[in-house]
Symmetry: C2
Subunit: 510 residues, 2 copies
């Protein structure tokens, strides 16, 4: 009988908590749809009211997430009396909501309001500054954002480095102390490899992309290969935007976009494969998490590992093109008639330092991230001030990539992230590459004929493995728990270092 | 000083009321977007969760609309102390919310819940019954829906006829006593005109539609003429669905769909023009009503008047095709090379009784509505029972249209309306035609060269008139107030009767 007395209020709390979770998830689903629509479908003149309507729903989600009801439920469910009785799924949900609740509650409402207004203004200022190459115009906004982020870091709290508090928003549990040695190893070996490629490498036939590729045919080819590599077209869409992205409405409705350039067939190809990696992840989350906070991926870094894995480890492999290249040639017989699959493979793996991160190749991409990581750490610790950014940016670009931007627009002003306060976000991109290489090592052990499957166009075995090992869990595990479960060890930079060394030695005949 | 003491609580109530109105409008906007998306964009596998997410938002809108806060605000704003101080706009908003609040409050929650479940089931049952031509299967659902509607009519209350209570939901203020003579006159003259056309009319060259029209070219032509007739493509879209519709997200974002049939170019043409009539209405509502309950049109009937006016009075006029036909011929030179503009005009005005309402021509369309109107009145008053519907339906079809359906699927089972409880809805369609003809008579007086403008492809003068006279007001006026303002008199069937007589006498050489 005493069991029952205890169980009753727990059950009531669980029912309420799950109902609130589902409600928040439904709101988030519709907000996600509206976000997608605003970028893909919405006509120009409706945008401002559209944005206000989404804003109203976002405000409601925020209110529900920090409501008195949520606070009370979290208190009950994390009480010593009940916490141990929770199942794994509920514990994970409680972990997520509690984290958000506590963070939101620690920031005074006035401060947060001021910050929200600032980021709106900063985005406009950034757009103008980039368009007019005017860093000075953007500087006061950036200074205030950094000031806020320094304050937030102090309020959230940290053990060793204030940047840890910001990293944790994107990669829960990650710290500077963990990340520094990983990134240092990756950076040193990448800089070294890049120098060797530039000195001794045999140039790849990259000119094959500098032709005209009919956009309608490109669309057809993208629609042709997308389901083959594992994206379920009955549970998703592929549309067109200037900036490719993936947006989940629910696990049966995952929407990708890509960008078609008439003068470069590879832009849409790899854009689509990349976003498909994100999309396939969310299509394969356990349906039981489908209307809950656990529906998303484990973290930004883990999510990026899935897009990078598909784009680079799979999509830029020789075996991938041995299967797909004849098909691509049949779509573009004129353009590709004199290019062998070997030539095409080398072309899509061309390494060339460039100023713009989003267009960077697999090797130099991480060096772009290193520039930003070093800068963000120093900004948050106070070792660096925003006014000195243009100089430091250019120094680091020279040091890591060997090139110096000629304007701030193609230098320090190129990224949108800081203007929305996304400091701590950039490392996720390289974490994705690190996780992906580590996962590759494991999958190669567990599916010994991994690359043979790719060459045969049999992606189902690989996607099943990814689903069983990673995708199905959604946000159930923290990123560190997940990578240890999947690969047997914590994140280790050796795998990416070795992968890049091996791949580019072959591509460039080093 | 005393003024101020009174004004203060009124201002507080007004601020709260307007904020609640805006919030409900934002929710409705996003729900509208999601509805559109579910029909136009959403992939199959996400639909059930998608529907649940929309359901969650709908429930919130309902809760807000019947909340204690809403009740208290309506009480304050309709109090003898304050009501007279309200401006026209606020009065109209209060009128709308109060009506919904009172109706919702009078139906016991249990009863409404039961009804909501029933209509969900009835829709599935109707789909199956229609597919299998099995009226008996649908009958118990229909009987229960009619039973509910009879109860609702009693609960809402009425002066003379129980059907009045249901009519009022679609056309505020309309009653059987007002409608009967209007419809009787229209029905009698239409039956008579139809008989004369069938006896003495010269057949129109309708075969020209029975050719193959490239769908891509149809899409281009629809996109070509849509902005010319007044639809702002920067404040809207045109997409493709099986059942054409118009959906407003906000007044800067109005979305139309149409249906392209390869074997019939006129389906998409008139579908698009019809939906454009709805869409142009909502694009031209006063922006000050843009995020409020007044954003929509005045009523179902007034809304339909705008789509019918554009589709029929404008889009099926000889002058319209004098302007557009050479363009259409340039898109389809093979198909239309032997057809004159006169022949094309007569073809798009072909009268031919058919079983399916949605495909009916301008004349017989109203006779389909008369069948349904007579039946609905009798069902609600108790003079007719659902089990007798197939027989009565076929009798009335024979009586009004001169044809008898061979199956219930092409007879009494053809429409979706009853399965969602939309009894009282059908008259709106013919009201639209009646309003449209009355508006035409006025516009011809106020713009004497009305048809010359059409022949010159100058639609701006006409659209300006519609905007000034009707569109800008949104839901500010009741339909009766509006038609009197615009035309100087209440709804009068003579205008449509005369319009049809004149038009078809010319088309058929009577």
């Amino acid at each position: 009988m005493e069991q029952k007395v205890i169980a009753q209020p727990l059950q009531v709390a669980l029912d309420k908590f799950n109902a609130l979770d589902e409600k928040i998830s439904h709101y988030s689903s519709v907000i996600g749809l509206a976000d997608w629509d605003s970028k893909v479908m919405a006509p120009k003149k409706g945008r401002s009211v559209f944005a206000k309507a989404i804003g109203t729903l976002r405000t409601e989600v925020f209110k529900m997430s920090v409501s008195q009801e949520m606070g009370e439920l979290l208190t009950v469910l994390t009480s010593s009396e009940f916490e141990e009785q929770l199942d794994t799924v509920t514990k994970a949900k409680v972990r997520e909501y509690r984290k958000y609740y506590q963070k939101s509650k620690t920031i005074p409402a006035d401060l947060y309001q001021e910050y929200a207004i600032l980021t709106g203004q900063a985005n406009d200022a950034w757009e103008e500054a980039r368009a007019t190459n005017n860093f000075e115009f953007y500087l006061p906004f950036l200074e205030r954002i950094i000031d806020f982020k320094r304050q937030f870091a102090e309020i959230y709290g940290y053990q060793e480095h204030p940047y840890d508090a910001l990293l944790d928003e994107f990669e829960p549990g990650l710290t500077v102390n963990k990340l520094d040695p990983l990134f240092a190893k990756l950076r040193e070996s990448s800089v070294n490899l890049l120098e060797r490629i530039q000195k001794y490498g045999q140039p790849a036939p990259h000119h094959i992309f500098e032709q005209s590729y009919d956009v309608e045919k490109q669309k057809q080819f993208n629609r042709f290969f997308l389901p083959i590599i594992g994206f379920d077209m009955e549970a998703g869409r592929l549309d067109e935007t200037v900036h490719p992205f993936a947006q989940t409405v629910n696990i049966g409705d995952v929407r990708l976009t890509t960008r078609y350039l008439a003068e470069n067939v590879s832009s849409a190809l790899f854009g689509t494969i990349h976003e498909a990696g994100h999309g396939i992840y969310e299509q394969n989350v356990n349906p039981a998490f489908g209307e809950s906070v656990l529906q998303e991926g484990a973290s930004f870094g883990i999510h990026e590992s899935q897009s990078r894995f598909l784009e680079n480890m799979v999509g830029r492999s020789k075996e991938f093109w041995r299967y797909f290249y004849p098909q691509l040639q049949s779509y573009f017989p004129e353009q590709l008639k004199n290019v062998s699959v070997e030539g095409f493979y080398r072309a899509v793996n061309t390494v060339k330092p460039s100023f713009i991160r989003v267009e960077a190749d697999e090797l130099t991409y991480n060096l772009h991230i290193m520039v930003r990581y070093e800068i963000e750490k120093a900004l948050i610790s106070g070792e660096l001030e925003a006014k000195d950014l243009p100089v430091v940016w250019n120094q680091k670009m020279k040091e890591y990539l060997g090139i110096t931007p000629s304007t701030d627009s193609e230098g320090v002003l190129q990224d949108v992230h800081w203007s929305f306060g996304g400091i701590g976000y950039f490392p996720s991109y390289s974490l994705g590459n690190l996780y992906a290489a580590q996962i590759l090592r494991t999958i190669e052990k567990e599916i010994p004929d991994f690359y043979q499957h790719i060459e045969n166009g049999k992606f189902d075995v690989i996607q099943e493995w990814l689903k069983d090992s990673i995708h199905q869990y959604g946000k159930l595990y923290t990123p560190n728990e997940l990578i240890v479960r999947v690969t047997g060890e914590e994140l280790n930079a050796d795998y990416l270092v070795e992968y890049l060394e091996k791949k580019y030695s072959a591509v460039y005949g080093l």
